[in-house]
């Protein structure tokens, strides 16, 4: 099943994002999402939420077919995307499709697949085509090869054997030329960059095998190895296709999520019109409107308007910051109660995002220099195997066997050691583990991340949005139930993130019809002649109560309520801990991991969380550079650090750490920097990632050792000229099957919660938007 449903159930719980999905659409500009086809028809793709069964598919396709101008609507069930094609003469009407989907009960967003994804899709198809050709060739060549093997113990005439060898050559040569291209190109690219990659021995092995087989066929010899060459390509291509499919699936899910979060900006035209545009279309100098409850889409300067911003995703700071005309705002900040007009500033090295990205680039470069298992295996494998082959040649020459016999045996060494098992050993484990993690609600960004998870001995948590849930909740306490009920009902009319915490307690009640938002202050309503106010302490005249509530709970923020001239009430609201945070931290400690909290938030807030979780080592008020410095200190001291964080300010730290993990609600940049994303409200994925990583690494090492043992046995056989094509074929396919079967063991019995619990989190009451 696709991740999108699971992820969205969670994202839905976040008022700020679900609000963006449900807000009334403006005159939106969808031109960027519609592609013109060569036959003049138009086509657009949509990411669709809530598709669960075959009936959904039929309902959507049938429901869209009668729309005017629509030529076809086809839902891709695997990646939850809908492709709509309009007839050549019809104007593409994207809003009509969205409205129709909405009426059917599905949320959808138009979706612009980027060029990178197109290239990936083309690469996948190319690999599958190569796999098909290699599979076809190896079946047919094997058919002929087995006849020869059987014939050499019975009564096959040499003429027939030669004929069969030539037919094999006829099939194998073009097939290898086509199917081997991914490897030849890889080897060539590597050599040009001055590196010997695993593609090089593969290319060398395949080419030498084919050349030798042709030479042997010309001279009418008994043995030809055409079957070995194509079978090798077939097995290696399986590994490549698996690897590529895993990458594409993760990417498709991430793209759907991005589209459904509807990351876009409201552009304010010079003539006062409003237009929604995708983020990519924002240019410096553009004026954008940020409404209450929305996230600031880009860095900029406030032109006018007053509001308070929640920077928790940017800096980890939970206290809201007041901004007014002339102040700088950063992408990712959550707008409070006032509308802001923001001028987008030049991105040239000045914005916070650029600074973060600069830090991240440096960190990622350092990480990409770290050797993963596959690289280390290649480094050992290539010189050893080539030395063995050279030694065979020299040995036979020294023994006076002549060039021909010496070369044949040297090439036989290369054939039998060709890295079938090695090529499958690691990708197969990565793919199987990624699938198992996927069911646990973890999306793996990078297959090599698994090995790094396995080595972790220190876990560093960010506080805001990682240990705590991203949305605030009302602090437990005793409140006047009548005041709470009225305040909650009033809160339904507000888009302020703190009000949503209050609104979540409202149950099924209706919002007050006459409620109106007072920009930058709160929300008020006249009910039975009494003015109800909900908002800042100043707005409600509740400074004293607010100060008292803050003194009692330094972590909290306060939202105040007052009915008429009655006594004002201050509701402390704060971000709650994730439900299983304490158990997970305790579990990590039991496993012997050192646990730290590095946060950008206030010391008082961090200390309270650290104390409740029993974490002794914590630091507060850290800038991104400080976090990197702390993590580098730890790594210099020999610790392998897993960073778990979500904020924009965590992104460089995520990239610096040995391994990294982000919740799916994290900032864009952090998601890109993390090795894996986890869904759901629990922190259990942290534990399962670590255990699954360990198991994956153990299986990879087992596979590599098996390949080594196999080579140690096979090389002498080949070097002494005892290797017949039959033995080579058995050895190669046998070893591939063994490593694949071993990799499948990664699938069973993953630690952690069942997928259902992760996939269907309790969803907070949706917040209806005020008209």
């Amino acid at each position: 099943m696709c991740c999108t449903d699971m992820a969205l159930a969670y994202v839905e719980a976040h008022a700020s994002w679900s609000e963006a999905n449900t807000r009334p659409s403006l005159g939106r500009d969808y031109a960027a999402f519609v592609a013109k086809m060569p036959d003049r028809s138009s086509r657009a793709e949509f990411a669709v939420e809530g598709v669960r069964c075959a009936a959904c598919m039929t309902a959507i396709e049938r429901g869209l077919a009668p729309l005017p101008g629509v030529a076809s609507a086809r839902l891709n069930f695997s990646d939850r995307r809908l492709a709509v094609t309009w007839k050549a003469e019809a104007a593409p009407d994207v809003p009509a499709v969205l409205a129709a989907l909405n009426a059917l009960g599905y949320a959808a967003q138009p979706f612009a697949p980027d060029r990178l994804a197109d290239a990936e899709a083309a690469e996948t198809k190319r690999l599958i085509r190569a796999l098909a050709v290699a599979g076809f060739a190896s079946m047919n060549v094997m058919l002929l090869a087995i006849s020869v093997w059987a014939g050499s113990v019975s009564d096959m005439t040499p003429e027939n054997r030669d004929l069969f060898h030539w037919i094999q050559a006829l099939i194998a040569l073009p097939a290898a030329a086509y199917a081997g291209r991914p490897f030849y190109e890889g080897a060539f690219r590597g050599l040009r960059a001055g590196r010997v990659t695993m593609d090089f021995p593969i290319t060398l092995g395949v080419v030498l095998t084919l050349v030798m087989s042709v030479v042997e066929s010309v001279s009418g010899a008994t043995h030809a190895y055409f079957d070995g060459a194509v079978m090798l390509l077939f097995f290696l291509l399986i590994g490549r296709v698996l690897d590529q499919t895993m990458r594409r699936r993760t990417r498709a899910c991430a793209e759907n999520l991005a589209a459904l979060r509807s990351e876009r900006a409201t552009l304010a035209d010079t003539n006062g019109g409003l237009r929604d545009v995708p983020l990519a279309e924002l240019v410096p100098g553009a004026r954008i409107l940020v409404r209450p409850g929305e996230r600031v889409p880009a860095d900029g300067l406030v032109e006018h308007g007053i509001s308070e911003l929640d920077h928790s995703l940017v800096t980890g700071e939970t206290a809201a910051v007041m901004v007014r005309g002339g102040d700088r705002v950063f992408a990712g900040a959550l707008n409070g109660s006032g509308a802001l007009t923001v001028t987008v500033t030049a991105a040239a090295g000045a914005s916070l995002l650029d600074e973060v990205e600069g830090l991240m680039r440096r960190a990622l470069e350092a990480r990409s220099r770290a050797l993963v298992l596959a690289d280390r295996a290649t480094r050992l494998y290539v010189p050893l195997v080539h030395a063995a082959a050279a030694l065979t040649l020299v040995g036979w020459l020294a023994a006076g066997a002549g060039w021909h016999a010496g070369l044949v045996d040297a090439v036989a060494v290369l054939i039998v050691t060709c890295p079938c098992a090695l090529g499958l050993a690691i990708p197969a484990v990565q793919v199987v583990t990624a699938g198992a993690l996927f069911r646990e609600g973890v999306l793996l960004n990078d297959g090599t991340g698994l090995e790094r998870f396995a080595q972790v001995d220190t876990v560093v948590f960010d506080k805001t949005g990682t240990l705590t849930l991203p949305e605030p909740v009302l602090t437990a306490g005793t409140f006047d139930p009548k005041a709470l009920a009225t305040a909650a009902r009033l809160a339904l009319s507000s888009r302020h993130p703190m009000a949503t915490a209050l609104a979540a307690t409202a149950g099924g009640s209706e919002p007050f019809p006459c409620a109106e938002e007072a920009a930058g202050l709160g929300v008020r309503a006249q009910v039975d002649g009494v003015e109800l106010r909900l908002g800042s302490a100043r707005f409600c005249g509740a400074e004293a109560e607010a100060a008292a509530a803050l003194a009692a709970d330094p972590e909290a923020s306060v939202i105040c309520f007052r009915a008429g001239d009655g006594a004002p009430v201050a509701f402390p609201v704060r971000q709650g801990l994730r439900p299983d945070a304490a158990e997970v931290v305790a579990g990590l400690a039991t496993l012997g991991h050192r646990v730290l909290i590095l946060s950008g938030d206030r010391a008082a807030a961090v200390e309270a969380v650290a104390r409740r979780l029993g974490v002794a080592e914590w630091e507060a008020g850290l800038a991104p550079q400080d976090k990197i410095a702390r993590i580098e200190d730890l790594q210099r001291a020999g610790r392998r650090v897993l960073m778990v964080g979500d904020g924009l300010n965590d992104a460089p730290a995520l990239a610096t750490a040995h391994a990294s993990l982000s919740p799916v609600t994290a900032a864009h940049v952090s998601q890109a920097a993390a090795d894996a994303l986890f869904l759901g409200r629990g922190l259990t994925p942290v534990l399962s990632v670590l255990t699954m990583g360990r198991r994956a690494r153990r299986l990879m090492l087992q596979n590599l050792w098996f390949s080594a043992v196999y080579n140690v046995l096979a090389v002498p056989l080949a070097a002494f000229g005892l290797l017949t094509p039959l033995i080579a074929a058995l050895a190669m396919s046998g070893s591939s099957l063994v490593v694949t079967a071993n990799a499948l063991r990664a699938r069973s019995g993953a630690a952690g919660t069942p997928a259902e619990a992760v996939g269907r989190p309790p969803v907070a009451a949706p917040v209806p938007s005020a008209a």
Partner: protein, 45 residues
């Protein structure tokens, strides 16, 4: 053994036909939505 001259080309031709069919199916997008295909079978239209 002249029968081989007939049988081997036939075998190869059939194999090539299968390969061509697979490549055609891949190109026409029949493998783009493997999960959806199992449900589409049950659709009436």
């Amino acid at each position: 053994m002249t029968v081989l001259l007939l049988v081997i080309p036939i075998a190869l031709a059939l194999g090539t036909l299968g390969l061509a069919a697979f490549l055609w199916a891949l190109r026409s997008g029949q493998y783009d939505d493997i999960e959806g295909a199992e449900y589409r079978v049950l659709n009436d239209d």
